[in-house]
């Protein structure tokens, strides 16, 4: 999946596991960009009594590169603090939670948002309340109201939200990890099975989102609001990251937990599935700790993706052209590591230059689509992935098709993709309630009482 438990170390540390990052020009506020980073993946909604929350000991960051050097010129930092009203009860809430300051809510979480630009640090908001987890009809009888109350307008056109959501990422996990079972040709697999509909494995699972809506002029290098799609200054590099202090000591005898030292990055995410699919198991932890500017170290996995070699083996005679393709995948390198330069897709570019770096690349001069295509750019919709990433983009299908060769003609007109490459699909259509039309765009979480339901 995108980056849920994608590396050995971070799979044991869910509160710091950056599962997905999204960045798009806000459809209902096109002078702004919305960025969402998700953590604590694969939450089963009934997971009490210690319901899910952010880590008080984790530094959550959203990084912005606005000059193509693959380094962050601007960073938004989020730090959380959990406050317990009554330590003498085991209960998360002692009655219905009707508001974010309801005395029945025992274990609350607040956060501070800081903008960092160079050596300048500016606190944009503090004491910002998260919503509770969605527990059930007795505890959280009007969850949409609680979620809405947790959208904070900070002034300067900035909105922020941090809290539990329904995971917007949709994927048939059981299928893809069962030796690359792909639709619509499960019967053509080396170990064939009968055709079966796609299963949305994350449909009723929750996640914790950090969402921020920022005026475009706050993010660009010169403070402008670009309108020229072909201008280099229109492209932002964006990625999320989580860090922990270098050392932690648990002193049980004194009931103390101490931390010290600088922040050490333990997770990051730009493009979906990058670490998941393109970085080998033995390097995934190192990748999570490294910076995008050093991603040339991982370029070989992009130029010669393992999955691209496996598909013709797993599906004999289905991908003959892919099997014969031995050249480095310059198409994938452009999509994932540099952005697409001008001249590849008519009227579009999202290049950040020559530095190989895994970042979402968002051309903010491309207006939001009135009719979003979940296949994004390969579906003819330049407002979607890999131009940034919207919450409803089907990035699994897009990247599977790209690896299967659909995008190779972008760099070699003589190459003909296999017919099967353009047919790959997850066979999943997310429900309309999964998303919202307005900030924070991710839908309310499923509640624990009703989910899972028979």
């Amino acid at each position: 999946m995108s980056s849920h438990r994608e590396a050995p170390e971070i799979s044991k540390d869910p509160v710091a596991d950056n599962a997905d990052t999204y960045a798009f020009v806000s459809p209902d506020s096109p002078s702004t960009v919305t960025i969402i980073t998700n953590y604590v993946p694969l939450q089963a909604p009934p997971g009490g009594p210690n319901f899910f929350e952010f880590g008080d000991d984790v530094l959550y960051s959203i990084h912005i590169d606005n000059n193509g050097d693959a380094l962050a010129e601007i960073t938004y930092e989020f730090r959380f603090e959990t406050i317990l009203r009554d330590p003498d009860t085991f209960l998360y809430n002692t009655g219905p939670i009707a508001s974010l300051d309801d005395p029945n809510w025992n274990k609350r979480q607040f956060y501070t948002l800081t903008r960092v630009k160079g050596n300048q640090r500016r606190v944009l908001g503090s004491g910002l309340a998260c919503p509770p987890c969605n527990i059930g009809p007795r505890s959280t009888p009007d969850y949409p109201a609680l979620g809405a109350a947790a959208v904070h307008a900070l002034g300067g056109g900035i909105k922020v939200f941090a809290g539990q959501r329904n995971d917007p990422f949709f994927v048939d996990l059981g299928s893809i990890f069962d030796l690359g079972d792909l639709r619509p040709f499960q019967n053509l697999h080396l170990i064939p099975t009968a055709a079966a509909p796609g299963v949305d494995a994350t449909k009723t699972l929750n996640i914790h989102s950090i969402a921020i809506q920022i005026p475009i002029g706050d993010l660009t290098a010169n403070g402008s609001v670009p309108t020229d799609v072909m201008s280099a200054s229109s492209v932002l590099g964006i990625w999320g990251a989580a860090s922990r202090r270098k050392m932690r000591v648990v002193d049980a005898a004194n009931d103390e937990k101490s931390e010290s030292g600088p922040w050490i990055q333990v997770s990051r995410l730009g493009n979906p599935l990058f670490n998941e699919v393109l970085v080998p198991l033995g390097k995934k932890d190192r990748w999570n700790a490294s910076q995008p500017v050093n991603d040339k170290d991982y370029a070989a996995g992009v130029a010669h993706p393992e999955l691209g070699k496996l598909l013709p083996v797993l599906y004999p005679k289905v991908f003959p052209n892919l099997a014969a393709l031995s050249s480095p995948r310059a198409d994938l390198e452009a999509i994932l590591l540099t952005g697409l330069p001008a001249g590849i897709v008519a009227g579009f570019q999202n290049s950040t230059g020559k530095v190989l770096a895994d970042m979402l690349r968002l051309n903010v001069a491309v207006p939001p689509s009135g009719d979003p295509n979940p296949l994004g750019l390969i579906g003819g919709d330049a407002a979607g992935f890999p131009n940034g990433r919207r919450v409803s983009d089907d990035v699994v299908t897009i990247e599977l098709r790209a690896i299967a060769g659909v995008t190779y003609p972008l760099v070699d007109k003589t190459y003909t993709p296999d017919a099967a490459a353009g047919l790959i699909t997850q066979g999943i259509t997310p429900s309309a309630t999964r998303y919202q039309a307005a900030f924070p765009y991710v839908g309310d979480p499923y509640d624990g009482y009703d989910t899972p339901s028979s």
């Binding site: 050392m247 000591v249 005898a253 004194n254 103390e256 101490s258 010290s260 030292g261 600088p262 050490i264």
Partner: protein, 126 residues
């Protein structure tokens, strides 16, 4: 990330939080002032091999006061060098062969090359 530097540990006395809680310990045992490298070493006797954590717990404080290698009065080796840091100071032997000890204090991480200190820390953990 802070940069890692290498210099003599003797130039940077280690300190502990003055107000840190001392669960179950007598007030007289609480080292409220900066500690010298010597007391740091003695305090580390209670830590795991190769890793030292300067805390104000009673066991470690007692070790600092009564450890076998403590040959000088405590009052003679405590020299305040400035306000105590708000967080626990931690240290570990980063590379025993090279005699490198890394000290973490607040957001700072500093690696010192001090073979004698590295050896004593390792010996203290045996």
């Amino acid at each position: 990330m802070s940069s890692t530097t290498r210099r003599s540990l003797f130039k940077a006395p280690l300190v502990v939080p003055a107000g840190a809680p001392l669960a179950g310990g007598a007030a007289a045992e609480r080292p409220t002032l900066a500690q010298s490298r010597r007391t740091f070493l003695q305090a580390s006797a209670g830590a795991a091999a190769g890793v030292a954590v300067v805390t104000t717990g009673p066991k470690l404080a007692a070790a600092a006061l009564h450890g076998p290698s403590n040959t000088a009065p405590l009052s003679a080796i405590i020299k305040p060098s400035g306000p105590p840091p708000p967080e626990t100071v931690m240290a570990y032997v980063r590379d025993a062969a090279r005699g490198e000890v890394t000290v973490l204090s607040g957001m700072r991480e500093t690696t010192y090359r001090d073979p004698e200190l590295a050896k004593r820390l390792i010996d203290a953990g045996r």
